[in-house]
């Protein structure tokens, strides 16, 4: 496999770190850029373990100017950008009746706006290369629309629709755009749930276990690999059979 330059956002989280690790393990030629913001300890350790192949870059995904700077730096240093994984995002759950508008805005900004900004920032480079892979991390919430997640479900459903629409726009240019919808995956979000909620969540999973970040990462890595060249606009669930 030829060398590839890959940018993963939200790289300090459990899922982002697993995705970055999967690309690092895939080929010694892969070069990783890890987008981080406030927290960076886990991403830093990954970078230290992979000197020369894994660089951290400060990126507030809600800010288009930061996206432009980061992509310009990557292209300046590595001369190309092959894969973007829009993984960063946050949730702020609550019933809509009581949901502060700021909680709506922040979730839409960090999930949906951020995906828009990321795609827009990398497209000129990928169009110029006539090749590129964009993988957007959505969520099963986009498809299930659970109560208490109007903001998150709407944002992720937006990511799904953005993915499918953009895929059609750039298909002929050799760029694929796909989304992955993780279900209950053993990351910080799941760890933050109380015991009852975890038990209830587990009861909804036909496989009777939570997913591992590595299992989501494997799906992302596949969508980015040459063998997935004819897959675009797809929404891949990684959910243990919930839906």
């Amino acid at each position: 496999m030829s060398p590839r330059v890959i940018l993963v956002t939200g790289a300090n989280g459990g899922l982002g770190r697993a995705i970055a690790a999967a690309f690092l393990a895939e080929s010694p030629q892969n070069l990783l850029w890890l987008g981080v913001r406030a927290n960076r300890d886990k991403a830093e350790s990954l970078s230290r373990e992979n000197p020369g192949r894994c660089r951290l870059v400060e990126l507030d995904v809600t800010r288009p100017d930061e996206w432009q700077k980061v992509v310009a730096r990557i292209v300046s240093e590595d001369k190309r950008l092959d894969v973007l994984v829009n993984n960063a995002g946050k949730h702020h759950d609550g019933l809509l009746a009581n949901l502060p508008f700021t909680a709506w805005q922040e979730v839409i900004a960090s999930n949906l706006d951020a995906t828009f900004h990321g795609c827009q920032a990398v497209l000129p480079t990928m169009i110029s290369q006539r090749n590129g892979r964009i993988i957007n991390i959505a969520s099963l919430s986009a498809l299930l629309a659970p109560a208490g997640q109007t903001n998150y479900a709407a944002a992720k459903a937006g990511v799904v629709a953005l993915t499918q629409s953009l895929a059609k726009e750039v298909a002929r240019i050799g760029i694929t755009v796909n989304a992955v919808c993780p279900g209950y995956v053993d990351t910080e979000s799941l760890a933050a749930m109380d015991g009852e909620a975890r038990k209830s969540a587990l009861g909804r999973v036909p496989m009777r276990r939570f997913g591992k970040p590595e299992e989501v990462a494997a799906a992302v890595r596949f969508l980015a690999c040459p063998d997935a060249g004819y897959i675009t606009g797809s929404i891949l669930k990684v959910d243990g059979g919930i839906l």
């Binding site: 000129p124 169009i127 110029s128 006539r130 002929r172 240019i173």
Partner: protein, 94 residues
């Protein structure tokens, strides 16, 4: 700075190669519209590719849709914009 003929040929080659048109460079007329009736039949995705290709090949930045509409009318208007960028002169000047 290359002469107009050389730029015209480069622009036509760029269009054919980037948009993977199934026609030869010589078949594109300088004043043939790129979009709309009687045109090469390009669409908005082709326009997007042309904007990126012009930046890459000539360093010509097209900042907004209004400028794109002006510059991407035909090969002649593209060549004029390229010349203007490099020399400050338009195609209409001697």
């Amino acid at each position: 700075m290359e002469d107009i003929n050389a730029i015209q040929t480069r622009v036509k080659s760029m269009i054919v190669e980037n948009l993977m048109l199934q026609i030869g460079v010589s078949e594109i007329k300088d004043d043939q519209p790129l979009f709309g009736p009687g045109s090469l039949g390009l669409d908005s995705v082709d326009a997007l590719q042309l904007v990126v290709a012009l930046d890459k090949n000539f360093g010509l930045k097209i900042p907004d849709p209004a400028a794109a509409k002006e510059i991407l009318q035909n090969v002649g208007t593209i060549v004029a914009a390229v010349r203007q960028k490099f020399t400050g002169t338009s195609l209409a000047e001697p």
